[in-house]
């Protein structure tokens, strides 16, 4: 490995360690109910699913809108598996049905199973659907997500899914502990660790031979096929892997929300994610992450005052009423899309070199304006 690459890796590790250290410190000092944690947790979860969507949309060129459906599968799988057997057999959650699952698993097994179930469904759906192109693929996957949501609320599946009722008391973020002990694990740090591992796996995939083949398919299907890349196999692979991580993030979302209900996984969720991917930059992992945190911070925290009567110190209860936030939010999104039409990051990644270059460019520009003025 050459020196530059090694330095790059070292800096990357230091940056990641700093982020995790910061999360740990925040968690040790701030009130656990602080809004900061909501933003960090939800932002991290959205980052994972946005990155997984980017793998499909940005790196393989498959326009799929099934994310909400795969998240739903992951959330249900996780909730059903990790709910303690005693709870399942009581009538606290399954009030109208007798739960047919008579065992429970740990958090890690639950998370992996959530991904696997979503991946299995993706595999089966992919067989017919991935032969479709662009818009048709989007419509088919969107339809799948809606159908799954309806099926999970179906009475007949009640003994498994609890019908249209809530699932709760599974191993949510307030119930995770260190392995083999009762000591609670810091929840935000937990989300960051899981999300970090998953995104690392996706990055490794994108930089592998498979990732290169995905990008080749995105750039030119015919040329890729002529190079001996099997289009269907690689599309299926990308679809299944993307769905696996959507499933994991669905499980994390369930842990974050403490409850699971099919109603939470509407198409709007997919559109939110699509927006994040577009704002972050199609084909940029760091862009998706930055956009996720920005989006969540804006919608959950910074613009909240717009719904509560007081924003930036201005009291205007008549104007800042429930719903006004959505209006302002839409305007902000329009501005972003108009002025950053390729997203915040384009298809580039965040790096120190880029940051340095940017600073140099700014300095040069400043110097030039000074010269002109002088």
């Amino acid at each position: 490995m050459d020196k530059e690459k090694r330095n790059h890796l070292i800096r990357l590790f230091v940056a990641i360690a700093l982020v995790y250290g910061m999360v740990a410190v925040l968690e040790a000092t701030l009130r656990p109910t602080s809004i900061v944690f909501t933003v960090l947790r939800k932002g991290a979860i959205y980052s994972l699913v946005a990155v997984s969507m980017n793998l499909l949309n940005g790196f393989t060129g498959l326009f799929s809108l099934g994310q909400a459906g795969f998240m739903l599968l992951g959330a249900y799988t996780y909730a059903i598996l990790t709910m303690p057997t005693a709870v399942k057999e009581s009538d606290r959650v399954y009030r109208y049905y007798d739960c047919i699952v008579h065992f429970d698993t740990g958090v890690i097994v639950g998370l992996i199973a959530a991904g696997l179930v979503a991946a299995l469904f993706a595999f089966l759906i992919g067989l017919p659907v991935l032969r479709l192109k662009s818009d048709y693929l989007a419509i088919a996957t969107l339809g799948f997500a809606e159908i799954i949501r309806a099926i999970f609320q179906w009475d007949v599946l009640g003994p498994l899914t609890n019908g249209a009722n809530l699932l709760r008391e599974f191993k949510d973020l307030s119930r995770i502990t260190l392995p083999f002990s009762d000591i609670p694990f810091p929840p935000t740090l937990f989300v960051f660790i899981v999300v970090g591992i998953c995104i690392l796996l996706i990055v490794l995939l994108i930089n592998s031979t498979y990732g290169r083949a995905f990008k080749a398919i995105r750039d030119d299907e015919i040329a890729a096929e002529a190079m001996g890349i099997s289009l269907f196999r690689h599309k299926e692979l990308s679809f299944v892997i993307s769905s696996f991580f959507a499933g994991v993030s669905g499980a994390l979302l369930a842990m974050f929300q403490y409850t699971v209900q099919a109603q939470q996984f509407r198409t709007v969720l997919t559109y939110e994610l699509l927006l994040i991917v577009v704002i972050g930059g199609i084909g940029s992992i760091s862009g998706s992450c930055i956009a996720s945190f920005l989006y969540i911070a804006l919608s959950e925290w910074w613009l909240r005052g717009l719904d509560m009567g007081r924003f930036l110190g201005i009291d205007a209860p008549d104007l800042f009423r429930s719903g006004f936030r959505r209006l302002v939010f839409s305007v902000i999104i329009m501005v972003i899309v108009l002025f950053f039409s390729r997203g915040i990051m384009g298809d580039k990644e965040l790096s120190f070199e880029r940051f340095k270059d940017g600073m140099k460019g700014m300095k040069a520009r400043l110097a030039r304006t000074k010269e002109v003025k002088g």
């Binding site: 031979t209 290169r212 083949a213 990008k215 080749a216 995105r218 750039d219 030119d220 015919i222 040329a223 890729a224 096929e225 002529a226 190079m227 001996g228 890349i229 099997s230 084909g283 298809d347």
Partner: protein
């Protein structure tokens, strides 16, 4: 080494290739010339496995490869330099080359060096995105990418398309050089003059049929070919 027997292909609802036969001896350069829409590209795409034939037989090294998948055919040692170059614009030059070697599991370092020695320009630009190259450089990249699969037979679809005459000369001298290094070449061209000068054997295709064949040097003096393709 390579043989097509009575091949017919339907493409886009019409019979694009009608009962053609041709053979490519090992180590030679064979060209297929003809006007727009004669069925040349369809023939190459069928050989590459991108289009399935209606009838006929394609043989390579004594093996029947008719209707096999592109991946299988590339694995056997046939590669296509597609029409209009079709390099991957958002991948770097080096990544483009690596994609060419996608099916190989052995070391590709030597072949990357070989391609760079054939096209020094690509080496200078190895970190540049494919889409930022000039037309001639893109054609070099498309040829280099095809060579990365270590082909025994390289098929080229109109390598001179849209290139300046000087660049075309360069490309054809590279084709000869690659051929001297042991790669058999099947070339289709509208630039009949250049193609026939380079090729050992030529076939003339018209509306899906092969109407004439012979040595390149003979065809170039043929009255009919001169009238139709070489401007009198």
């Amino acid at each position: 080494m390579f043989e097509i027997k009575n091949l017919s292909v339907n493409y886009g609802g019409i019979e694009a290739v009608r009962d053609i036969s041709l053979s490519v001896p090992e180590g030679s350069i064979v060209t297929l010339i003809g006007a727009n829409g004669a069925g040349k590209s369809t023939t190459l795409r069928t050989i590459a496995g991108l289009v399935k034939p209606r009838s006929g037989r394609i043989e390579f090294m004594g093996e029947d490869i008719t209707g096999k998948d592109p991946a299988y055919i590339v694995g056997k040692g046939i590669t296509l330099v597609p029409e209009g170059r079709r390099i991957f614009p958002d991948l770097t030059v080096l990544e483009n080359l690596k994609i060419g070697a996608y099916l190989r599991s052995d070391s590709i370092e030597d072949d990357i060096e070989w391609v760079y020695s054939l096209f020094p320009r690509l080496k200078e630009r190895s970190w540049q995105y494919g889409g930022t190259l000039s037309g001639g450089e893109q054609q070099m990249l498309a040829v280099g990418r095809a060579l990365m699969s270590k082909p025994r037979l390289m098929m080229m679809d109109e390598p001179s398309l849209g290139l300046a005459p000087l660049v075309v000369r360069d490309i054809f001298s590279i084709i000869r050089k690659i051929n001297e290094e042991g790669v058999t070449i099947l070339l289709i061209e509208q630039n009949a003059n250049m193609a026939l000068q380079t090729a050992d054997t030529g076939y003339v295709m018209e509306t899906g049929r092969i109407t004439l064949s012979g040595k390149g040097s003979d065809l170039i003096t043929d009255e009919g070919v001169r009238k139709a393709y070489l401007g009198g």
